[in-house]
Symmetry: C3
Subunit: 129 residues, 3 copies
């Protein structure tokens, strides 16, 4: 159920985007232990200059590979969130050569009736999920 929105600077090939999204999904699977097909991803490309990611003075260097990953999910423990950050960095580095310093994540939480995966049904309410 997490919905993953990834904002990036344009320039990746179609195949590179596929590799990146596959990696992000593996991170979700291993960190949150959701079902294999619990995959909902949107990849937004932007011209350089339309995506600005600084560092709040933390001294983190960004490159053109930088990603802003926003996650919408039902409530997750702090432990699972930390694991997700860690798994995203690991998978995206291995698969796509994206450094952990180029990965920013922000999570938003909603509740069971807030999801319909299709057919007009609220699957967490009807008990199908």
């Amino acid at each position: 159920m997490p919905l993953i929105r990834i904002d990036a600077i344009e320039g990746r090939t179609k195949e590179e985007v596929k590799t990146l999204l596959d990696a992000a999904h593996r991170a979700v699977l291993s960190a949150l232990a959701v079902p294999q097909r619990d995959r909902y991803q949107v990849y937004h490309e932007h011209p350089e200059g339309h995506l600005i990611v600084e560092d709040t003075g933390l001294g983190i260097q960004r490159t053109k590979k930088v990603l802003v990953i926003t996650v919408t999910s039902m409530p997750r423990s702090q432990e699972l969130k930390l694991r997700l950050y860690s798994e995203l960095c690991r998978e995206l580095k291995t698969s796509s050569g994206i450094e952990a310093s180029d990965i920013m994540v922000s999570i938003m939480t909603n509740s069971a009736p807030d999801w319909s995966f299709g057919n007009g049904e609220a699957h967490f309410v009807t008990g199908k999920l």
Copy 2:
């Protein structure tokens, strides 16, 4: 006040997008009983492969017409949320031939001071709304 963000695969004509957005707005009007001009919509087009919508194992078939609809709103009852899912499916099928199986919705909730509709004013705080 709901803000409706719709992510879709590119390919619809300008007129088809208008028809789709008009239909989504009719669904909001009838499900949530908001004023006629309470319409705030963003339509994002993506190349195929940049929008991935699977099914958490529910057995829902997706096509290239698939939509991810994210709604930001003040608190709504579960009943109204279910009605919104149902109305979105009905209106989008009738107007645009989009099957209910191609419609995913996720809702996020915020509060009165979180909205300014213009002029730097928080209209739910000042009492104008």
Copy 3:
């Protein structure tokens, strides 16, 4: 830490977008008193017709310069939110000639463990922020 997403109709030059984003950041700095480099911005361009901003009957006139600004932040007081609306209008008018009537804002709130600014670290949890 606020993450600022700005949806706009296409047509601004690269330089105009830079001016606009710089102005939005000055508004965040002065309204919320965050560090200088606490800057995370995404600018989305859309064809006309893909961004629809009406007025809930408030009688607010929109032009092609209209902006939908969505802000994700840790909790902020109502006072700070109102100040942010006001500062956004002031800075965007001065820098970019965008009228206050063309500026809609919606804020979403999350919590400390929901942010990783890089390196897989949750900076509000580890105490670095």
